[in-house]
């Protein structure tokens, strides 16, 4: 039974459309007779209408009006419910039965499949194609926008755009067909050949090539850096040498010299060990030097210096030492050298000889002062000092080294000298610092004090001094600033105040007078320049002073622009002014008097005012008088039209616009346009300009060579477009402006996608063949 029903329902699905218009009450209406049907239906309708009156919408049943062959027994209709019949509705009863799984599956598949949309019609497709193609083309074209804009705004365009490369033949071509004729040419050729100068590219001789290859960039850089360093070191050493040369201390130089000698000796020793032959040569040299010395008799006590020293030696320890040293040197030089290995013993021997040679005085003193070598003593003391005081970690190793060196007998003097040198250095630096700090300190105290602590001290001192100075300067500044503005403030203030005080009352005076006079006098008199009674003013000023500001305010409104010319400029005079100024005033007055006398006849201001008045009158629109004498009344000689008539026929002219010079008392503006100049003037602002001053500026800058230098003239007159006669100007190309042109040719692109064209074309071909 259910299977039957299902089959039926499937059938119904297939005939859905027919089912739609099947009415529900088909069976009912079908069973009835046609004849009495009408009355029944009328009645039914009436009933329905009545029942629908209650507001609730009753189900509207579809009505069937024509017969149909297919009649569904299930009475399925979508019309009644107002909804479409959905597949799911039909499947609901199937859910219960499991035997119809396959059908169900098929139905589900049908449901899941999407319907294929109808293909668009041909026009639509073409339109879409076109739109896509257009967008693509627009994109391609938009790359030209900047180029076009640039060319449109360019100051100058030179056509043709592509640069023609000058047709210059390469040099080898020129050379191949050319022979040296003159001797000079031959000489040059020989030279070139000698250097194996190649003719073809690249034009480099083998040597140049090698040199190019020899050095890579990094190597060259390293070389350069090395050279730079060497140069820097050299300059550094030079500077050092210069510095040392400047040192005036004899002791220092002596020490240095001695050190050098020692060093030479040491080197010689080493040389003797390493290379006896060289040492022998060296020895010979020394011998020669000795001989020279001996011949010159330089180091004996016969020199000027030596004599002076000998005198001083009695009292001065240093002088004595110098003497001794010289003697020692002399001895050393004059002595004939024997075998080098016995130098130590000889040294001992020399001392003895020295004692013999040295003058008695020197020796005596030395013996008195200090038995052993004074150099030794000093070095010991300094060393101990250093060891005790110096706590700097940097300088620690050096003293240690000295101590080590002290243990060795031979090298000790070298260390001594070093120490001495260092001392010198320190002293020098300290001296400099002290000079900076402007602290005069005894040099002796520095020796005893620790160097580092002294540094700190000196720095502190410097700082303190600076602070002091700063403070002082600041104070000074502040005071100066304080004083100067005060002075300035004090100075201008009276100046400012004075004129105010002087002027105000006077102006008030004149205005007051004006007012008074204005009340009294008529219009004409006002324009005339009026003499001002100075005496009166001076008398009145003190009285008016307290209420001057008030009055001034009042009067300011009363200043009439018309009368600006006629009012006299206020003279700078009052009771407060000292007598000197009065004198000056007198001078001025004299001057004015003279000028007045000179130009007694012409009153310029009055003339001007008169002229202006006339101009104003002339520019005023005229009334039109239309009275006809003798019209409507008696006429004749001596008879005038009556006032009434005149009034009646007088057409008053409308008042024109205010004159531009109405508020400018000392200016007269002619408002009539000059036709002759107007013909040469631009009436409206031309298009690209937005302001008249822009346009005026372009006009006012001359471009001719009369006003500009040649260069500027050329620049100003460059034409916008330059073309060369006889040169073909090709259309702009992508390569000209730096773009890469499309690699594919247009033709190949067509042949790649010929689909639509060929089909259409084939059709046409067919058609034509048929025809």
């Amino acid at each position: 039974m259910t299977a039957n029903r299902l089959a039926e329902s499937l059938l119904a699905l297939s005939q859905q459309e027919e089912l739609v218009d099947l009415p529900k009450d088909y069976l009912l209406s079908g069973s009835e007779d046609e004849g009495d049907n009408d009355g029944e239906r009328e009645h039914q309708k009436l009933l329905e209408a009545i029942s629908s009156l209650d507001g609730k919408n009753r189900r509207k049943l579809a009505e069937r009006s024509e017969a149909s062959l297919k009649v569904s027994e299930f009475n399925v209709s979508s019309e009644g419910s107002g909804e479409k019949l959905v597949l799911a509705d039909l499947l609901e009863p199937v859910k219960t039965s499991s035997s119809l799984a396959t059908v169900k599956k098929q139905l589900n598949r049908v449901k899941s499949k999407k319907t294929v949309e109808l293909p668009l019609n041909k026009e639509e497709i073409e339109r879409i194609h076109r739109e896509v193609a257009f967008n693509k083309t627009t994109q391609v074209l938009s790359k030209w926008d900047p180029v076009v804009l640039k060319n449109r705004q360019a100051e100058q365009l030179v056509f043709p755009l592509e640069k023609e490369e000058p047709a210059i033949a390469p040099i080898e071509h020129v050379l191949s067909g050319w022979k040296a004729r003159t001797p000079l040419e031959q000489e040059i050729f020989n030279l070139l050949h000698k250097n194996k100068q190649p003719v073809a590219d690249p034009l480099l001789t083998p040597v140049e090539k090698a040199s190019l290859q020899a050095m890579s960039l990094e190597e060259a850089k390293m070389r350069r850096a090395e050279l730079q360093r060497a140069r820097a070191l050299q300059s550094y050493y030079e500077a050092k040498a210069r510095r040392e040369k400047k040192i005036k201390s004899k002791k220092y130089h002596k020490v240095v010299k001695k050190g050098k000698a020692k060093k030479a000796l040491k080197e010689f020793e080493q040389l003797r060990k390493a290379n006896p032959a060289a040492a022998l040569e060296e020895l010979e040299k020394i011998e020669k030097a000795r001989m020279m010395e001996r011949m010159s008799l330089k180091h004996q006590n016969s020199g000027k210096w030596a004599k002076s020293k000998a005198i001083m030696a009695k009292y001065d320890l240093e002088a004595r030492q110098a003497m001794q040293e010289q003697l020692a040197k002399n001895k050393e030089l004059t002595q004939k050298l024997q075998v080098a290995s016995e130098s130590e013993e000889e040294e001992g021997g020399t001392e003895e000889v020295e004692e013999l040679l040295v003058p008695d005085v020197v020796n005596e003193v030395q013996m008195n002062a200090d038995g052993p070598n004074p150099w030794m003593l000093r070095s010991c003391t300094s060393d101990t000092k250093e060891a005790a005081t110096q706590e700097d970690p940097e300088q620690l190793p050096e003293p240690e080294a000295h101590e080590v060196s002290e243990s060795e007998g031979e090298e000790r003097p070298v260390a001594e000298e070093e120490i001495l040198l260092r001392e010198f250095e320190e002293r020098r630096s300290l001296r400099k610092r002290s000079e900076l700090s402007q602290d005069a300190e005894p040099a002796g105290s520095q020796e005893t004090k620790d160097s580092s602590s002294q540094e700190v001290l000196s720095e502190l001192r410097v700082l303190a001094q600076k602070l002091k100075e700063n403070d002082q300067s600041r104070k000074q500044k502040a005071s100066s600033e304080g004083t100067i503005p005060q002075v300035q403030r004090e100075e201008p203030a009276p100046e400012e105040e004075e004129p105010l005080l002087l002027q105000r009352p006077e102006r008030v005076q004149t205005l007051e007078e004006l007012e008074e006079l204005g009340k009294e006098e008529c219009f004409q008199n006002k324009e005339l320049p009026r003499p001002v009674l100075e005496g009166q003013q001076s008398e009145r000023t003190p009285n008016n002073r307290p209420d001057a500001p008030k009055e001034k305010k009042k009067k300011e409104q009363m200043i009439d622009l018309q009368n600006l010319l006629t009012t006299q400029s206020p003279s700078v005079k009052s009771l407060a002014v000292p007598t000197i100024e009065e004198l000056e005033d007198e001078e001025e007055r004299n001057q004015r008097q003279m000028i007045k006398e000179a130009f007694a006849g012409d009153d310029v201001i009055r003339d001007f005012l008169k002229e202006k008045r006339e101009a104003v009158e002339a520019s005023k629109p005229k009334d039109v008088d239309l009275t006809l004498p003798g019209w409507g009344e008696w006429g004749g000689v001596g008879l005038k039209p009556s006032a009434k008539k005149r009034r009646r026929f007088l057409i008053k002219a409308p008042e024109g616009p205010p004159r531009k010079d109405k508020n400018l008392p000392n200016v007269m503006i002619n408002e009539k346009r000059n036709i002759h100049t107007a013909a040469h003037q631009v009436r409206v602002l031309p298009y690209p300009f937005t302001h008249h001053w822009q346009f005026e500026r372009t006009i006012q800058t001359p471009i001719g060579s009369t006003w500009n230098t040649q260069r500027a003239f050329q620049k100003l007159t460059t034409p916008k477009v330059v073309t060369k006669p006889g040169h073909i100007i090709n259309p702009i190309k992508a390569e000209d402006v730096g773009y890469r042109s499309s690699s594919r040719s247009d033709l190949s692109v067509i042949q790649r996608n010929p689909k639509r064209i060929t089909t259409r074309h084939k059709k046409q071909l067919k058609k034509s063949s048929v025809d």
Partner: protein, 445 residues
């Protein structure tokens, strides 16, 4: 006693050789050279007057055709060579320097509708009323050889125009549809249509060479993309467009010569509003060609005159006419931008200077400097009424002159009516359409 003397460095005033120019010291102190503006104004005025005095643009007339000249073509590599096709099917090749005809070919029966040269200049193509496309060698036949085309393509319909690709062996013809041909084949490799109407001319874009523009007699201008083998867009104007021409320096700009006496410059990316409407002709504009610099173009009109327009101005800067010149059918601007050729109904080709008062031949540097200076002065003072009046003044034949007056009256009447209509209707109900938009009917995608 010491005598003070003037001493000068002789280098400042002695010439090295007597051929050198004498040194003239100048003082540029502005107070020494007053009235610079009035003086330059006078110079500008004189320059303008002289320009008009020397304005003699007509150079030569090439006569020989036995019917109206229908089409012209430039040789791409040779400035002196010009090709022309006449209404009796005759093609002539001219030498401009000698001003004579160097070759005559009876190419077609009936009109020669179109002529174009190959980009290399070795051959040229013609289309005619006899439904054929013919390719000819540029050089004449040898002694004893027959004058015959290299190739002949027999078409099914009449071709009305032809243009050659700027870089490749491809050409395009137009008639009922736009066909693109490979030179080696007898069938078009591509044909594009949009609607059914006879297309009067087709032009390749010289910059982006795959673009084409055509104009048909149903008042529209259609753009095509050759590579995608599809039309791009169509704009419909008030009246028929006779021909178009692409700007050789600006890839997306083209100008259309219209029957409604105007020319329209379009940006092909925005066809709904022309960039500029050029109006001065008093009859249908038949042909247009761009100056190779892309700054100006020349148009030929049915009103027996040719006019030169700057691309950014709506009014022409120059008008050329002669008594004998009839309706001008075709016009070309030579590739060196110095000359203009026009072919007209009365069988002549005329050669004009592009710049009417320009001196031909080699100029000395001083002449050149003076020319540049005068040009700049004219530019500077161009807005001054006197100068403007003189520079603008042209003598026109009576027919054109009266036509201009008449059209001015008509235009004024139309404008007045429009104003009145706006005035007497509800505000906003009558839209105010700008002159540019007025002539565009529709843009079809």
């Amino acid at each position: 006693m010491k005598v003070k003397m003037l001493s000068r460095n002789p280098d400042n005033y002695v010439r090295e050789t007597k051929l050198d120019l004498q040194r003239v010291p100048r003082n540029y102190d502005p107070t020494l050279h007053p009235f610079e503006v009035p003086r330059e104004y006078v110079r500008a005025l004189n320059a303008t007057k002289l320009e008009r005095v020397f304005a003699k643009p007509f150079l030569a007339s090439l006569d020989g055709h036995r019917d109206g000249v229908n089409c012209l073509a430039k040789h791409p590599k040779n400035l002196a060579t010009v090709l022309s096709g006449a209404c009796d099917g005759e093609v002539r090749i001219w030498n401009l320097t000698q001003r004579n005809c160097i070759r005559t070919v009876q190419a077609h029966e009936g009109f020669v509708r179109g002529i174009c040269t190959r980009f290399c200049g070795t051959s040229f193509f013609t289309v005619g009323d006899d439904k054929t496309v013919k390719q000819w060698k540029m050089d004449g036949p040898g002694y004893g050889e027959e004058e015959e085309p290299l190739h002949t393509i027999l078409g099914k319909t009449v071709y009305t125009g032809i243009d050659h690709h700027w870089k490749e062996a491809v050409f395009a013809t137009c008639g009922q549809q736009v066909d693109i041909w490979d030179e080696q084949r007898t069938n078009p490799i591509c044909s594009m249509t949009w609607g059914f109407d006879s297309i009067s001319s087709v032009k390749f874009n010289p910059v982006e060479t795959f673009l084409l523009g055509s104009c048909a007699s149903d008042r529209n201008i259609v753009l095509y993309d050759m590579r995608q083998a599809t039309p791009l867009k169509k704009v419909i104007l008030d009246m028929r467009t006779n021909t178009i021409c692409w700007n050789p320096m600006e890839a997306f700009i083209f100008t259309a010569a219209n029957e409604d006496y105007n020319l329209y410059t379009f940006d092909m990316r925005a066809l709904d509003t022309p960039v500029m409407v050029h109006m001065d002709h008093v009859s249908a504009v038949l042909d247009v060609d761009y100056c190779p610099t892309g700054k100006e173009f020349v148009s030929a009109s049915f009103d027996k005159s040719i006019r030169i327009f700057p691309v950014d101005k709506s009014r022409s800067r120059e008008v050329y006419h002669t008594k004998r010149m009839q309706h001008v059918i075709c016009v070309k601007w030579t590739s060196d931008s110095k000359y203009i050729m026009c072919g007209s109904d009365e069988m002549n080709i005329r050669l004009w200077k592009a710049n009417a008062s320009e001196k031909l031949g080699v100029l000395t540097s001083r002449e050149k400097a003076a020319k540049d200076y005068n040009q700049k002065l004219k530019e500077k003072f161009q807005h001054y009424p006197h100068i403007k009046r003189i520079a603008r003044h042209r003598h026109l034949p009576k027919s054109i002159y009266s036509q201009i007056q008449e059209q001015r009256i008509m235009k004024e009447a139309r404008r007045r009516k429009e104003v009145n209509r706006i005035k007497h209707s509800k505000p906003g109900s009558v839209p105010i359409v700008s002159e540019k938009k007025k002539h565009i009917v529709a843009v079809v995608k």
